[in-house]
């Protein structure tokens, strides 16, 4: 197998290397990619969308349709993970003993199968493999998570002027929650942002994007033509594009954040939503 793989890989590589000889030089400013479509973006983006970050302008406006489906991909990935992994019936778990920790004292209870779970708020359910208390990590992450979140929101909001945008911001926001789940435990993270919330947010994020496009449709312009939204925003068409991009980025951020968190929840707890990694 290895030899076959190696041979086919080398063959493939040889063909590709052969093909590379005909490429325009690396970094050539006169090569076709540099001279055909992209100059329009570079020269007109600010005038047409008033967004200095050309990548954002192209991403969310000129090729906004791509990005819509990119978000849909993320959404469907999250949905797929949920679909594939989520365990709905607890009886799939073979040893059905349950562990509970009494919060004030740290005493751990083991409930045999059939036993009644303690009802008090003072108990928290834990996994057979729970995370031991680690004060340093817990405290530090607690302190920095708000800043990470703030930064994530900043990235979303400033996608027009600096690198970043909805996706990056969304991932950072998602990571902050993942970090929370890592440093505390998964149940607490789920308590903060439950499954329903992440699912609905995830769909809602994509919906904001697609809905903004559809709104343009209803306003009589083409799909995703944010210029049509100018009456709603009360600004001129170019500014409307800029604001439309912002709305869209917010949608992307929301969707990506929830998607990442949701995927993590399912993957880390194998669909059981107990304590994760």
């Amino acid at each position: 197998m290895k030899i076959v793989a190696l041979a086919s890989v080398l063959l493939c590589g040889g063909i590709l290397i052969f093909g590379t000889a005909g490429f325009p030089d690396f970094g050539d400013p006169l090569s076709p990619p540099a001279s055909h479509v992209s100059p329009h973006y570079i020269e007109e983006a600010v005038a047409e969308t008033s967004v200095p970050n050309i990548v954002t302008a192209v991403l969310a406006d000129y090729r906004g349709f791509d990005t819509l489906f990119e978000t849909a991909v993320v959404f469907s990935a999250a949905m797929a993970c949920f679909f594939l992994l989520r365990v709905f019936r607890e009886d799939e778990r073979s040893p059905s003993e349950k562990l509970y920790r009494h919060l004030p004292t740290g005493i751990i209870l083991r409930i045999d199968p059939g036993g009644k779970a303690p009802q008090s708020n003072e108990f928290e359910p834990i996994d057979p493999t729970w995370v031991p208390h680690d004060m340093i990590v817990k405290t530090t992450t607690r302190l920095i998570i708000p800043f990470i979140q703030l930064f994530g929101l900043y990235v979303i909001a400033h996608g027009h002027h600096s690198p970043g945008g909805g996706f990056q911001g969304g991932v950072i926001l998602g990571s902050s929650l993942i970090l929370y789940a890592l440093s505390q435990n998964l149940r607490m993270a789920i308590g903060r942002m439950g499954e329903t919330v992440s699912a609905v947010f995830c769909a809602a994020g994509v919906f904001i994007y697609a809905g903004a496009g559809a709104l343009c449709l209803l306003m009589g312009a083409n799909f995703l033509d944010y210029a049509a939204l100018s009456p709603l925003f009360g600004v001129d068409a170019i500014q409307a594009r800029s604001l439309g991009i912002l709305v869209v980025e917010i949608g992307v951020g929301l969707a990506v954040m929830s998607a990442m968190v949701w995927i993590y929840y399912n993957l880390a707890s194998v669909g059981r939503h107990q304590e994760g990694l």
Binding site: L59, F167, G174, Y264, L277
Partner: protein
Amino acid sequence: MSWPMDMLILVFVIISGIGAITVRDLLGAAILFGAYSFLMCILWAIMGAVDVAFTEASVGAGVSTVLFVAAVFRTTRRTRD
């Protein structure tokens, strides 16, 4: 953009890529894959693709490595190749 940096980092990227698929321990592979995407991130930055670099940074560091570790945690570290 500076080509020496570009080359250097590219070589590192390749090394860490090879490392990620050869190491006989999946957790190690996941961590090396993290290194791979860190280096990729620098590479993008050096090539002037700031947005790509940003995405790679956030994805590579924040999500994909964590997902790998989670998957390895939920499965096994054992590998025979």
